[in-house]
């Protein structure tokens, strides 16, 4: 048995050491949604397919979310920004055709009678955003903090690695991840998530997903350098008028960081919730464990004392 160091919470810098923190910078402004990363990850890690089911409302996304068997996942966000002009045009076209119905088209379905919101129907679809999501390899990793078996470890690359031969599938890491990344596989029984291709890193290879990405939306590299380049990218986009560009998970002021800073961070142009990401996050353990434990132990002792007191008084009363 080993006792885990309590202080091993923030990433250690190993100055002068060969290895340093490696991470991902995923730039959604150049992602073309090809899912090559998703497939490359499955192939490299020999992960099973999740089944062949059409997902309603998922745009072109049929795998849905990160899971124990999907460690890279490409999200599709269809954004509608109907221009005023478009709205009027559509409304006029419809008015000309006849009271909310589709003109000249023989209706064959049940919906034929229903009024249709044409303005919405012909909304000017001008943004379709793709985002390749992955484990964030948090500095303050909830999953790592939670793991009772020590299956989750911080590697020499400062990434968060799940040792599948240690994990017993307790499932604690699952709700402990503020990003909904890690999951327990219902068949395999163990938890699974991105390894940041630890095995490839050991062999000096770039992670499979980054290697496969045709537009280099996924950049792999030393963390500090990635942050530098990413910041320059944001600045470049700002100068080009993409006001909404920002980094999700890096270059924040301390105190505003997401889980202490994300080893895999993103360049986004829409609020994080559009991509299923929380606007703020911290390792729930680091956030809550001390107050919650104090309250709990306090109340435990109180309860024990209370019980004892009740007994005393009861006995005394009886004796009297």
């Amino acid at each position: 048995m080993t006792v885990a160091p309590t202080g091993e919470i923030a990433v250690r810098r190993e100055d002068g050491d060969e290895v340093q923190r490696m991470g991902f910078f995923t730039d959604t402004t150049v992602c073309i949604g090809c899912k090559a990363c998703e497939v490359a990850c499955k192939q490299w890690n020999d992960l099973p397919a999740d089944g062949v089911q059409f997902r309603k409302g998922g745009s072109y996304d049929h795998t849905g979310a990160l899971s124990a068997s999907t460690w890279r996942h490409v999200r599709f966000v269809e954004l509608l920004e109907p221009s005023e002009e478009r709205r009027t045009q559509a409304a006029e076209a419809l008015a000309a055709g006849g009271g909310g119905q589709v003109p000249t088209l023989p209706a064959t379905g049940d919906g034929g009678e229903e009024a249709v919101d044409v303005a919405r129907a012909v909304a000017d679809m001008d943004k379709w955003i793709f985002m390749s999501d992955v484990c964030k390899h948090c500095t303050n990793a909830g999953c790592l903090d939670a793991c009772p078996t020590g299956a989750l470890i911080r590697t020499e690359f400062q990434t968060v690695f799940l040792q599948p031969d240690v994990c017993n599938g307790c499932g604690y890491c699952v709700p402990a991840c503020p990003f909904g990344v890690v999951d327990r596989d219902p068949i395999d029984g163990r938890a699974g998530k991105c390894t940041l291709c630890y095995d490839r890193l050991l062999d000096g290879l770039e992670p499979a997903c980054a290697k496969a990405c045709p537009t280099d939306s996924i950049q792999f590299g030393p963390y500090e350098d990635l942050v530098e380049v990413a910041s320059e990218r944001v600045a470049t986009l700002h100068r080009r008028g993409v006001e909404g560009a920002y980094l999700y998970g890096a270059a924040d002021e301390s105190g505003e960081q997401l889980a202490g800073g994300l080893g895999a961070f993103f360049l986004l142009t829409e609020p994080p919730e559009r991509f299923g990401l929380p606007a703020q996050a911290e390792s729930p353990i680091q956030e809550n464990v001390v107050p919650a434990t104090l309250a709990a132990i306090g109340s435990g002792l109180l309860a024990a004392a209370g019980v004892a007191a009740t007994f005393f008084s009861a006995t005394r009363r009886m004796r009297r």
Binding site: A49, F54, Y60, V122, W128
Partner: protein, 856 residues
């Protein structure tokens, strides 16, 4: 492009980062549109109208690149006085025979060039031969030109008049786009063309798969020529080709009407009985094609070796003659009529991928035997037990006589070979893994098949077996499996001297006297200096001026030229048009052409050279005629020959359309389009109220073509798990179709079911003031594999472009309704069999050439 050429698209993204403006013209808002600066949601099948609008804009606003257009194109050339444009004849050109739908194009010729044989008649058969389209065989001695462009019959004036009706308003009405969309595109391309800038036009099958597909690309070519964007860096009309090395398989063709290197398959008939006759009709006295005989003879020497002699015309008499249209559809229709015994299907899945797939499968069921070489049991191999026709009881397996042999194929990583990519760069790849089990490469299969055939016919005395007996077949084998050496084949393709066996260093070395052999002249030089040039992977110094050309990365045909006609990147005097667009130029001191790329011009011919009127061969090309493959050395704004449906692109509606032709009200679809009028192939008439919705098909990044390589793979199958159709919310609401729910798409040919993807990415449009809805379907799905679904191709009728027999799967009409289909998809056509019967050894011109049967 982001969808189907994602790796190529990285360069578009790079260009975008450097400030390029990306315009996407596509009926659907796709992943490409998401990356584009502007998306133009055009109605399927109306690209000529759109491009015509741009051409008109460029001409009317005088935005064309005059210094380029006058010397480099045929703008100033005068056309025969018999020529009548569509303007004069209500939508058709002079020379149309309305009964057959065929043109006699003799009136389209240049004035003063009496050309013995043009257009119709013997050229009815589809062809992709370069020589056909380049004016080979044209006599140009009497060519008349008017540099002032004032002559009413000069190409420029004809062009201007032809496109005058393509006003922004008319285009907007026809294409279902806004006038502003068109003008914004026009403005962008004009501003981005000229001396300092170039615009590239990328297209793929959204533009080709129409009955006017060839003319759509012609329209793009005209626009690019007018703007001076051909033969220059960053310009061009870039065909984004399909399958891996599909370019290679047209260069060294798997096409019925071509021999390697775009030499035309000799045709049955008097003219091409002899080698001399063949070279005469095909070759030319002027321009590059004057070398035709060298390439033809060297090819015959490569085939027949020692046995090919002057006396027997190098075996030319034994080369099969083309007797009709033997393209895919014609062949399959013949099969349907019982006229084909057996079929070898290697790397194709027509049971899913070909139009009117139900007909296709019924044709497969009419064969005696069928060999399918593939990785998995694709639908083409399994149709006899699980196709919709079997499910519907129309074709019980016990009644299908076709004996199917499924042979496992080795994949591209399991064999050596080359890929020729979309820009003609040949890249060799080594074998990475041994193929599993009995899976063998194509080369292995054909090599051992050929050896067995040679053995079988070895003692035959029959004249017809001469080619098999004398075919040279000495490729060395290696390994336990006796795999033939792919590089030996490449050396033969490169060409060698027949006596010494020494490899030639390029097609300049080829001779017509039998002293050289060459498997494909355009690839000659690929094994230059005994080195497999295609295996080179040296990007070179990318930061050096012009270093981005990377001439030592692989090898490009011809002669490692990366951009064709690159003489046009310099002005008539041989100077770069601008410093920014420097590419190939005349070096005055050294007295030859030089540049970043291999100049596509005789190296020592000075810009000032003027061809004497009676010159022959390359001497007839002047120093400022960059288009050396064309008989007149010019880029053709107007095609005096080579096309079967007119010298200029004209907007015709698709064969099936909900609306009439708004530009030429008297005519709907192209009069020259091939239509197969058979009960198995019913068409919808224009405006048929039963089929008010426009349908188109498209590809998904996640799947590959007919799905044999992607629907069988769980990792890809899960990404796009089921057949779906994209429709707009308005249509969905009207028909009660729910997102993610089932819908049925109906045509006369079939009814298929699909999941509905209701999305604002598809919008209803206004065509001539009427709302028109679209439904877009991926066509990857079939009944086998992990991800299964109905095939979009079950819905589509066979109709084709007359020039190259490309099908029209991009625009047809249909109807949609909520819910699943009630019966197997192709049941609507069950039992509609024509009574036609053909024997396997019988000629059937009617089936092979619908035109000849007057079915236009």
């Amino acid at each position: 492009m982001a969808e189907a050429h994602p790796v190529g698209f990285r360069w578009v993204m790079k260009a975008k980062e450097r400030g390029a403006r990306i315009i996407h013209v596509d009926p659907r808002f796709s992943r490409t549109s998401a990356m584009a600066d502007q998306h133009v949601a055009i109605r399927p099948g109306t690209d000529i109208a759109f491009l015509g609008g741009l051409i008109r804009h460029v001409i009317e606003t005088e935005a064309y690149f005059r210094e380029y257009v006058i010397p480099y194109t045929n703008a100033e050339t005068i056309i025969d006085e018999r020529f009548r444009d569509v303007e004069d004849l209500d939508g058709v050109f002079s020379g149309l025979d309305p009964a057959t739908g065929m043109y006699d194009g003799s009136s389209w010729n240049y004035a003063g060039c009496d050309e013995a044989e043009v257009a119709a008649g013997w050229r009815v058969h589809a062809t992709q031969a370069f020589s056909e389209h380049t004016g080979a065989g044209m006599r140009l001695e009497g060519l008349e030109r008017d540099e002032t462009l004032q002559h009413p019959r000069c190409v420029f004036r004809i062009l201007k008049r032809h496109f005058s009706r393509y006003t922004p308003e008319a285009v907007a009405r026809t294409c279902g786009i806004s006038r502003e969309d068109l003008l914004a595109v026009a403005d962008a391309v004009v501003r981005n063309s000229g001396r300092d800038r170039t615009t590239a036009y990328c297209y793929a099958v959204g533009l080709t798969q129409h009955t006017v597909g060839v003319q759509m690309i012609r329209a793009a070519a005209i626009l690019q020529l007018l703007l001076g964007n051909i033969g220059r860096p960053g310009g061009g009309i870039v065909a984004l080709r399909g399958h891996a090395t599909i370019q290679g398989s047209t260069d060294i063709p798997t096409l019925y009407d071509l021999l390697p290197g775009y030499l035309h398959m000799p045709r049955a008939g008097e003219k091409e009985q002899t080698l001399a006759g063949y070279c005469r009709t095909e070759g030319a006295r002027r321009g590059w094609w004057a070398n035709f005989d060298r390439y033809a003879v060297s090819l015959l020497k490569a085939w027949f070796g020692e046995a090919a002699t002057v006396e027997n015309e190098y075996g030319f008499g034994h080369v099969p003659r083309l007797s009709g249209n033997h393209s895919h559809f014609a062949t399959m229709l013949r099969a349907l009529d019982g006229g084909v015994d057996g079929l070898l299907v290697m790397g194709q899945n027509p049971a899913v991928g070909s139009q009117n797939a139900g007909l296709e499968r019924r044709a497969l069921a009419s064969l005696r035997w069928l060999v399918v070489r593939d990785f998995a049991e694709v639908e083409t191999a399994s149709f006899w037990r699980d196709s919709p026709e079997v499910q519907s009881g129309e074709l019980p397996p016990e009644r299908i006589q076709t004996e199917v042999f499924l042979m496992p194929a080795a994949s591209h990583v399991e064999k050596e070979g080359s890929f020729t990519n979309t820009q003609r760069v040949v890249q060799w790849r080594d074998k990475a893994l041994a193929s599993p089990g009995d899976a063998r490469s194509e080369l292995w299969f054909l090599h051992h098949l050929a050896k067995r055939l040679k053995e079988h016919y070895g003692s035959s005395e029959e004249e017809r077996d001469w080619p098999i007996r004398h075919l040279t077949w000495d490729y060395p084998e290696h390994g336990e499996r006796r795999e033939p050496d792919a590089e030996a084949v490449l050396r033969e393709i490169n060409g060698f001297e027949t006596v010494s066996g020494r490899l030639v260093s390029g097609f300049d070395d080829l001779r017509a006297d039998g002293s050289t052999a060459c498997g494909c002249w355009i690839y000659s030089g690929i094994y230059r200096d005994g080195v497999n040039q295609a295996r080179r992977r040296n990007p070179g110094d990318l930061d050096a001026p012009g270093g981005w050309v990377s001439p030592e990365w692989g090898w490009a045909w011809p002669a490692n030229r990366r951009a064709l006609y690159n003489r046009a990147s310099a002005d008539p005097d041989g100077r770069p048009w601008s410093e920014r667009k420097r590419y190939v130029w005349w070096d005055e001191q050294a007295g030859h052409w030089t540049g970043y790329d291999v100049p596509d011009f005789p190296a020592g011919k000075p810009p000032a050279y003027r061809a004497p009127p009676d010159a022959e061969g390359m001497d007839a090309i002047s120093g400022d005629d960059p288009f050396i493959m064309m008989a007149d050395g010019r880029g053709w704004l107007y095609s005096p020959r080579g096309l079967l449906d007119g010298p200029l692109p004209t907007h015709y509606e698709p064969v099936e359309s909900p609306v009439g032709n708004l530009l030429y009200p008297d005519i709907g679809a192209s009069p020259a389009a091939i239509r197969w009028m058979r009960p198995e192939n019913p068409y919808h008439v224009t405006g048929d109220p039963r089929f008010p919705v426009v349908a188109t098909t498209f590809r998904l990044t996640e799947h590959h073509t007919a799905g044999g390589m992607s629907r069988t793979l769980p990792w890809l199958a899960e990404l796009q798990p089921e057949m779906f159709a994209e429709i707009d919310p308005l249509l969905a609401a009207d028909r009660g179709i729910e997102d993610g729910g089932w819908m049925t798409i109906v045509t006369e040919r079939a009814e298929i079911e699909a999941r509905a993807l209701v999305t604002d990415r598809i919008r209803p449009m206004q065509v001539d003031g009427q709302p028109v809805h679209r439904v877009a379907m991926p066509w990857h799905y079939g009944f086998d594999g992990v991800a299964v679904g109905d095939s979009a191709n079950d819905l589509i009728a066979l109709a084709a472009d007359p020039n190259v027999s490309i099908h029209e799967s991009r625009a047809f009409t249909c109807n949609v309704r909520a819910g699943r289909r009630a019966r197997p998809s192709t049941a609507p056509l069950a039992g509609t069999r024509s009574a036609r019967r053909v024997a396997a050894n019988e000629d059937d011109p009617a089936a092979e050439n619908p035109k000849e049967a007057g079915q236009g």
